[in-house]
Symmetry: C2
Subunit: 507 residues, 2 copies
Amino acid sequence: MHRFVYPQTVEKWCVFEVTLKGPSDGNPFTDYRIKGTFCGKNETKAVEGFYDGDGIYKVRFMPSFEGKYIFTVEASFADKKYEGEFTVTPASKNNHGPVRVANTYHFAYEDGTPYYPVGTTCYVWTHQKLELQEQTLDTLKNSVFNKIRFCIFPKHYLYNLNEPLTYPYEGTPCDSSTLNEDNFMYSLELDGNNWDFKRFNPEHFQLIERRIKDLMDLGIEADLILWHPYDRWGFSRMSKEEDDLYLNYVIARFAAFRNVWWSLANEYDLLRNKTLQDWERFGSILCEKDPYNHLRSIHNCMSIYDFSRPWVTHCSVQRVDVYRTTEYVDQLRMRFRKPVIFDEIGYEGDIDQGWGNLTGQEVVRRFWEAACRGGYATHGETFVNPEKILWWSHGGMLRGESPERLKFLYKILCETPGQGLRPYRLSWDDVVAVPDTPWNTGEYYLIYYGFNRPSFRRFYFDDHTKFKVEIIDTWDMTITDAGIHSGKFTIQLPGKQYMAIRLKKVE
Amino acid sequence: MHRFVYPQTVEKWCVFEVTLKGPSDGNPFTDYRIKGTFCGKNETKAVEGFYDGDGIYKVRFMPSFEGKYIFTVEASFADKKYEGEFTVTPASKNNHGPVRVANTYHFAYEDGTPYYPVGTTCYVWTHQKLELQEQTLDTLKNSVFNKIRFCIFPKHYLYNLNEPLTYPYEGTPCDSSTLNEDNFMYSLELDGNNWDFKRFNPEHFQLIERRIKDLMDLGIEADLILWHPYDRWGFSRMSKEEDDLYLNYVIARFAAFRNVWWSLANEYDLLRNKTLQDWERFGSILCEKDPYNHLRSIHNCMSIYDFSRPWVTHCSVQRVDVYRTTEYVDQLRMRFRKPVIFDEIGYEGDIDQGWGNLTGQEVVRRFWEAACRGGYATHGETFVNPEKILWWSHGGMLRGESPERLKFLYKILCETPGQGLRPYRLSWDDVVAVPDTPWNTGEYYLIYYGFNRPSFRRFYFDDHTKFKVEIIDTWDMTITDAGIHSGKFTIQLPGKQYMAIRLKKVE
């Protein structure tokens, strides 16, 4: 019994972990299996465990209810069934559970608290040196971002030619010493990789799950990218069996973390060795194996995925038009009837690439367009700097002007009555949002003028309703009281870009 | 013979006018006909004349060749045929003839001089008081604009509630004293108009042709809008016969002015009483009756016209997307294989309407997008001011920041080798223009970065070609020499929006 270790209590929606000593001979990742069955008053869940190296096997479970649980653990290497019990304590103050789809187009934590995603992107921050990872966490702590997109596999791309801290598999990488920014695109043909795709490197995954836990503690969702095409090691070109082994391993390790989201791919359509059947199979495996139904989606390069597939919980979109980006949110809502997150809208920065040199104004505008059309957007940053540390891939510190304004937008979203916004047609050319109910109660309007700069706007709803009017400068982050109005009224505006008006019915 | 008057000489591509005294009884606009036949060594043209009031009948002719012409004039009210002769003198310095389509997607004057349209819009400037008209001409004189869009009929709309200087018909208008900016949209139902749609008011047309002549002297094309929906007088709701009478009258009066372009409509799809058959009929009449084949098009509100119709010489487009405008130029070129002019892209200004409160930067950006995709755009301006004189409708003076920058763009266009630009794919995300030949000679590239702000760009064409590189700041209107480069080279940029790079091959 000395090899069977588990805690006596665990907080609701936290990770309950059972550790078992077992064999380390052969290939423990494929030769042995371990699973647990967890049973409380309101739920019974069977979950698969995983091999964590050094003869250690683990089974993880996330309870969704308080109170007493009993459980059993079975391992293919052990004759006996292990049994135990533990108590689930109430969720602490900042623990609201996993994020779920709410109200068709929006999100809420499992305890009902609205969740308005304001995401950012640091593709391979967990593959950089530890000091930089700590700086990233520190930056995130002081930011508004409550979701971050990042990759499990390392990344090979412009500004991303270095080797990762660890590799996901046992083996050795190809020689990358001849690579530079001119020839890196040809690296798919590089020889010399020598990996055993049946043997994971537990250290690689331990580090990632430590970061998932760090993010959880900061109240940030970890939008995990499972595959991506920016690869010189061959991780994007494994066989079906190897892919499925990987996916099962990742689910067994990470699913018990409440803040995990599954993103099947970044730019799925650039992965030449994968077919639609592969993505669908991965979706099915997630549906079958993830006991907690974490959010699932897939991100595109040229053509968006068919988000109507039942395994997809929300639309994760990269803009496919250089000029119109989040302006498509309302169309995508209508088409898919799921929440829409523009997970890639171009980045604030000044690098040479067109997707990476937007102004802060343009990034913030795209966020507001998304919000007022009933969707969400995701941030990223790509500034040239002597250290060549770009937030978009490496994390580090933020240099741009948009993050502060996104904090301001988040505040406005939190002040929305009900659960999220939806687009509403008030006149032919305004971007107008109302609370996302099937009807318009006429009590709240958020009107965004984007790159236009009216010096006044006229309003008329009816003869009697009184509205408190506020003028919102989305860039300068001010909210100016413009008085109480009813009937026909005109609101003077400063003739600047990026203004909004908020109207609230007063009794 | 004392009633038969004409000059002895006329300049090539200028108006030769024959005047004949005739009856003023009955309705001279419909009861009598007058026509002329003009014959020189290289051309013979039969043209219709028109009644100009006070018993005066006129026949106008624009000769396209130098030398001796003979002509005859026949009138239905006269037994005898009038005969005469005159000499066509060479075109003077600033007279290049009418504008024609050249090179499929571009324009040139008839003498071969390239014409790069940089248009503006003053819908009803000729209907304002004369002092304001003079101011408009003065503004135009000092501007870059070489085309202006305006209406023959008066306009009723926001900021356009006043009565015109003159009316196109005999009669009296409805009472407009109760109209204001709240109720003006209901004015189509206003009663009290009392017009004789068979009797033109020559004074109205004389004023317009005086302005056409003024524009001609300034080297500006007059893009005449024949119908439009912004009407409280009923001019948009005449019968077929009345419409055709009007069109014939306009052709007889205006066609001999070399700078006339025909725009069948502004926002054709908002004219509820017109069908596609009507527009096609008007197109046919123009093809049949205009002896000089002036440029012909038609402008839309919600859906662009089928510009593939053979009578259409070029695409006259109003943007149908609030966000993407001239970015569609290349698609429209491909689709219609005709020149593309975005005649309405939104206006620089700060009025309440979304189409009328763009920044100068955005207007100029749209012009550059058009240019670098092988098309053209048209300016307009709508600033709130105490006098309520908005350039877009009334003319007057310009207040915006874009006109100076359009002058700069025009200079760049004039420096283009050959006849116009076409889009070229150099990398996936740049807007690149090369000279509009079927092949790319590799000698000239104009690359525009729009709202992006790269701080550098890398280039590689081949190992040997040398390029003179210039950095163009399209907003600050500077051209900076960045040296001679070949092979792989990097150009540093200031990380600002609205920059372009020009590459010219050097020997």
